[in-house]
C-alpha cells in the first residue's frame, strides 16, 4: 500500500520546506509562502491517501474476518459481513530504522500508522494548509514574513513527527520541537516585551510538564523491560502490550501514568498549568488557530490516546473506585469548569476562545479519564475544525473589522452587517462548540457524556452538562459583543491606524503613503504591519469583509464543523470502527447512543443560549450587577485575576526562588562552602607550619643537633684531662698504680 508504507514522507516534506524557506525563502516571489503552502498541500494529499488506505485496510480485514466467521458458523444466518463482534485484528503499519544501538538498547526512528495516527495526520495537515493560505493575506507585509512561514513549516513537520512516532523517544523529540515552534511563533513580534514574556511563559510552563514526560518516557522503557524479562524498548506497541501485561507491577504502571499525566497537564493546558494558554494569544492569530487550538495543544491528548493502556491500567480507569473518580478524569473535569468560568470575564475575543480551548481540552482529557477513548479522539477531531474556524474568524474580524484590535468591548460590535461571511462562519463555529444538534460538536460532546455515564463516572456527566451550559452562554456573549449592537470602533482609531509605523516591514512591502511619524501606537498583542496589509482594500476605512484568502479557509472549516460529526453518528459509527486500535489495546466498552441524554444536553445548551440572549439582546436580568453589588464585584475580580494562579506562580513561587532562596543559596555558597574550603586551606597551612616549626626545626633538628652537641661537649670535657702537663699525667699514673696494688693485695 503506497501511502501507508511511505507515510514517512508526510513529516519529511514540511521539514525540507523549512530548510528551503529558511535559506532561500526571500528570493521567491511570494517570499517563501508559496513554498510552505505547496509543501503542506503535498503533505495533506499524502495524509488523505494514507487515511483512505488505512480505512480500506480495516475494511478488508473485517471483511475477511467476517467471511471466515461466516464460514465457521454455518448454522447462523449472517446478514452482514464484518458485523459487530467479529472485529479483526488490524495491526498498524510500522516502519523504522535504527539510528543508534548500544548494549542491546536500540533507538529507532520510524512511523507507526494506525487509525489514530492517520486521522490526526489528516487534521494537522488540513488545518495547517488552511492556515498557510489564510496567512498569505493576514500576515502580508509583516516584518518577518519569510521566517513566519519557515516556522510554520517546522511546526507542521514536528507535529507530524510526533503523530507518526513509533517510539516514545521520537514522540518526546517531536513534543519538544513543537514546544520550541510554539515559543518562536508566540514571540513572533518579540520586539514588544509582552509578546516575548508570553512566549517565555508558554515555554517554561510546558517545560514544567515536560519533566513528567521525560520521567514517563524513561519509565515506559522499564515497563517493556519488566514485561519482556530484560528486553527494554521505547516502542509504543511494546509499551502498550507491557502495560497490559501481568508481569509488570501495578505501582510502576501507575507512576508512569502519573508522570505522563503531568506532561499532558502542561502541554494541553489542564489545571493547574493552564496559565500559559491565554497569554499565548500574544502571537499572531493564525498561530493561535493552528497551534493553540487545533494541533499542538492536543498533542497531550494524542499522547494519552496513543499510550492509552498505560493510563487505563495505571489509573484503573476501567474500574472506577472512590465513588467514580480518578486523577485524569478529575483534572479534566476541573479544567472544564474553570476554563468556562474564566471565559465569561474576558474582553479580548481571543482570550475568550483561549479559555474555551482550555475547557474543551478538559473535555478531551476527562473523556480519556472515564474510559471513552473514541469519544476523546472524536472530540479532538471535531474541535480542531470549529475552534480553528472560530480563531480564524476572530482574526478576520480584527484584520478587517476592528482595526487590528481584539478588544470586544472597545472596538467591536455591530459587525454583522459589515462582515456577513465572517459572521456566518463564526456563528456556525459557535453553535458547533455549544453542541447544538446536528453540528459536529453535538455528536462528540454527547458521546463523551454518554460514555461517562455508562462507565460509572456519573459525576462527570454532570460536570459535562454544566460545562455545556456555560459554553453556550459565553459564546453567546461573545457573538453578541462582536457582531451585534452598535459599532464601537472609533474614528480616532482610523486616524491612528493611518499613522501607524511601518518600520519593520520586510523591505519592499513598504507602502509609502503610510509611512509613520510616531512609532508606537499599537495594541499589545499584534504587530504594526497593518498599514501595508490594507494596500488592496483601499483607504475607505470602515469595517469591511476580508478577502478570499481569509474567508475561504473559514468556509472550509465551517463545512467540516457542520458535517464532520456524522462520521460517528449512531448507525454509522465509522469513527470507532476505523480508528480505534485493535492491537495492543484495552477493552474499552462503548456505550450506545442515548436519546434521553442527547435531548437533555441539547436543551441545556439551548438554555445557555437563551440566558445569553435574554441578558444581552433583551437586557433582562441583573444588568451591571458588579457595579452595584460588592460580592459580585469581588467574585468577578477573582475571575479576572484568573484565580490568582498567575500571582501564585510568578510572584510567590518564582519570586521566592529568585529572591529568598537564591539569596540563601548564595549566602550558603559564599559563607559556608567557601569557608569550609578556606578553613581547610588554612588548616593545612597551619599544620604544615606547625610541622615545620615544631617537629622539624625543634624536634628533628634538635635531636640531631643535640646529639652533636652532647658529643662535642663530652669530648670537650674529656679533653680537659689532656692538660699537656707531665706531672699531672704522672699523678694519674701513681694513683692508678696505687689502686692496682690495692686491688692486687685485696684479691690475693
Amino acid at each position: 500500500m503506497f501511502f501507508l508504507d511511505h507515510a514517512w514522507l508526510v513529516p519529511l516534506i514540511p521539514a525540507v520546506s523549512f530548510v528551503v524557506i529558511l535559506f532561500f525563502g526571500k528570493r521567491f516571489p511570494q517570499k517563501g509562502s508559496e513554498v510552505g503552502t505547496v509543501a503542506v498541500g503535498a503533505s495533506f494529499l499524502l495524509a488523505c491517501g494514507t487515511l483512505v488506505q488505512w480505512i480500506k485496510r480495516v475494511q478488508d480485514a473485517d471483511h475477511a474476518h467476517g467471511v471466515g466467521a461466516a464460514i465457521g458458523a454455518l448454522g447462523r444466518s449472517v446478514g452482514r459481513l464484518g458485523a459487530e463482534g467479529t472485529a479483526a485484528q488490524v495491526a498498524p503499519v510500522v516502519h523504522h530504522l535504527t539510528w543508534f544501538q548500544n548494549a542491546g538498547v536500540r533507538l529507532t526512528v520510524g512511523v507507526q500508522i494506525d487509525g489514530l495516527a492517520s486521522i490526526v495526520m489528516f487534521v494537522v495537515t488540513l488545518v495547517s494548509l488552511l492556515v498557510h493560505v489564510y496567512s498569505m493575506e493576514y500576515m502580508r507585509g509583516d516584518r518577518r514574513y519569510t521566517h513566519f512561514y519557515a516556522a510554520l513549516s517546522l511546526f507542521t513537520a514536528s507535529m507530524l513527527l510526533l503523530v507518526v512516532a513509533d517510539n516514545t523517544l521520537q514522540l518526546l523529540v517531536g513534543w519538544e520541537l513543537v514546544g520550541l515552534c510554539s515559543f518562536m511563533l508566540i514571540g513572533h513580534w518579540w520586539e514588544e516585551k509582552p509578546n516575548s514574556d508570553a512566549a517565555l511563559k508558554a515555554f517554561l510552563t510546558t517545560r514544567t510538564g515536560d519533566i513528567g514526560l521525560l520521567i514517563g518516557v524513561v519509565m515506559t522503557y522499564w515497563l517493556v523491560d519488566r514485561a519482556t524479562g530484560g528486553h527494554g524498548s521505547f516502542n509504543i506497541l511494546a509499551v502498550n502490550q507491557a502495560a497490559s501485561s501481568s508481569k509488570v507491577g501495578h505501582t510502576l504502571v501507575m507512576w508512569t501514568a502519573l508522570a505522563l499525566l503531568l506532561a499532558i497537564i502542561g502541554k494541553s493546558g489542564q489545571f493547574p498549568l493552564h496559565t500559559w494558554l491565554p497569554d499565548a494569544m500574544a502571537g499572531p492569530t493564525p498561530v493561535s488557530a493552528l497551534i493553540h487550538a487545533a494541533t499542538m495543544v492536543v498533542a497531550g491528548v494524542y499522547m494519552g490516546a496513543r499510550l492509552y493502556p498505560v493510563f487505563w491500567h495505571g489509573l484503573s480507569i476501567g474500574t472506577p473506585g472512590h465513588g467514580g473518580l480518578n486523577a485524569m478524569a478529575l483534572i479534566g473535569g476541573i479544567t472544564v469548569i474553570i476554563g468556562a468560568a474564566l471565559a465569561f470575564v474576558q474582553d479580548d475575543i481571543k482570550k475568550v476562545l483561549a479559555y474555551s480551548t482550555i475547557s474543551q481540552l478538559g473535555y478531551m482529557v476527562m473523556a480519556l479519564g472515564v474510559g471513552a477513548w473514541t469519544a476523546a479522539v472524536f472530540h479532538l477531531f471535531t474541535h480542531a475544525f470549529f475552534k480553528a474556524d472560530l480563531f480564524l474568524g476572530a482574526g478576520s474580524v480584527s484584520h478587517s473589522g476592528s482595526h487590528h484590535s481584539f478588544d470586544m468591548k472597545k472596538d467591536m460590535g455591530g459587525l454583522k452587517k459589515y462582515m456577513p461571511k465572517t459572521y456566518a462562519t463564526f456563528v456556525i463555529g459557535s453553535l458547533a462548540l455549544a453542541g447544538i444538534f446536528p453540528l459536529a460538536g453535538f455528536w462528540s460532546k454527547d458521546e463523551i457524556l454518554v460514555n461517562a455515564g455508562h462507565n460509572g463516572y456519573q459525576a462527570f456527566v454532570v460536570v459535562g452538562l454544566v460545562g455545556a451550559f456555560m459554553t453556550a452562554a459565553y459564546m453567546t456573549r461573545c457573538v453578541y459583543l462582536t457582531f451585534h449592537g452598535e459599532y464601537r470602533g472609533s474614528v480616532e482609531h482610523e486616524l491612528a491606524e493611518v499613522h501607524e509605523a511601518e518600520v519593520f516591514a520586510e523591505g519592499d512591502e513598504l507602502i509609502e503613503h503610510h509611512l509613520a511619524e510616531e512609532q508606537d501606537s499599537f495594541v499589545p498583542g499584534f504587530g504594526p504591519h497593518a498599514a501595508a496589509a490594507h494596500g488592496d482594500d483601499g483607504h475607505g476605512h470602515g469595517p469591511h469583509e476580508s478577502n478570499g484568502f481569509i474567508t475561504m479557509p473559514l468556509f472550509v472549516l465551517s463545512f467540516f464543523a457542520v458535517f464532520a460529526g456524522f462520521i460517528n453518528a449512531p448507525g454509522v459509527e465509522k469513527f470507532e470502527k476505523w480508528f480505534q486500535p485493535r492491537v495492543a489495546f484495552v477493552d474499552v466498552s462503548t456505550a450506545k447512543f442515548s436519546v434521553i441524554l442527547a435531548t437533555i444536553s441539547v436543551l441545556i445548551a439551548l438554555a445557555g443560549i437563551g440566558v445569553g440572549y435574554a441578558y444581552y439582546w433583551l437586557g433582562a436580568g441583573p444588568q451591571r450587577l458588579t457595579d452595584r453589588n460588592p460580592l459580585a464585584r469581588s467574585l468577578k475580580h477573582f475571575l479576572v485575576m484568573k484565580y490568582y494562579l498567575d500571582v501564585l506562580y510568578t510572584d510567590i513561587i518564582v519570586g521566592s526562588l529568585k529572591g529568598a532562596i537564591a539569596d540563601g543559596v548564595y549566602w550558603v555558597n559564599q559563607h559556608v562552602i567557601d569557608n569550609v574550603l578556606n578553613y581547610a586551606g588554612r588548616g593545612a597551612i597551619g599544620v604544615g607550619r606547625f610541622t615545620y616549626e615544631y617537629i622539624d626545626q625543634r624536634g628533628v633538628d634538635g635531636l640531631v643537633n643535640g646529639l652533636a652537641n652532647v658529643t662535642g661537649e663530652a669530648g670537650g670535657e674529656v679533653r680537659r684531662v689532656q692538660t699537656g702537663r707531665l706531672q699531672f699525667y704522672a699523678l694519674i699514673l701513681v694513683l692508678a698504680v696505687g689502686l692496682f696494688a690495692l686491688a692486687l693485695w685485696i684479691f690475693t
Binding site: T723, R725, L726, Q727
Partner: protein, 99 residues
C-alpha cells in the same frame, strides 16, 4: 734487724720521691726526685737480697744503678734541649701536648 725496717725506709723514700716528682716545678729537681725513688728501690732490693742470703739483690741493684746513671744523663740532655728552646726549665711551661 728486722727486714721491715729497711722496707719501711725504702717505702718512705719512694713516696717522698713520688711527691717530689709530682710537685717540683724545676725539671732537674724532678730528675732528682726520680733518683730518690731509684735509691729507695735499691735499698729494697739489697734488703731482700740480704734476707735471702744471695747475691741477686746486689746484682740487681747494680744494674738499677747503672740504668739510673744512664737515664740521668739522657734526661739532663733533654732538659738542656728544652731549656735552650724555651729558656725555661719550668715543667708547667711545657704543655705543648695539651689537648
Amino acid at each position: 734487724m728486722l727486714l721491715n725496717q729497711f722496707l719501711m725506709l725504702s717505702a718512705f723514700l719512694f713516696c717522698t720521691g713520688i711527691y717530689g716528682v709530682l710537685t717540683r716545678k724545676h725539671t732537674v729537681l724532678v730528675l732528682m726526685s726520680i733518683e730518690l725513688m731509684l735509691a729507695a728501690v735499691n735499698i729494697n732490693l739489697v734488703a731482700f737480697g740480704a734476707f735471702h742470703n744471695s747475691v741477686i739483690g746486689q746484682v740487681f741493684a747494680l744494674f738499677v744503678l747503672t740504668i739510673a746513671a744512664a737515664e740521668v744523663g739522657v734526661g739532663l740532655a733533654i732538659v738542656l734541649l728544652i731549656y735552650r728552646n724555651s729558656h725555661s726549665a719550668d715543667l708547667d711551661d711545657a704543655h705543648a701536648l695539651k689537648g
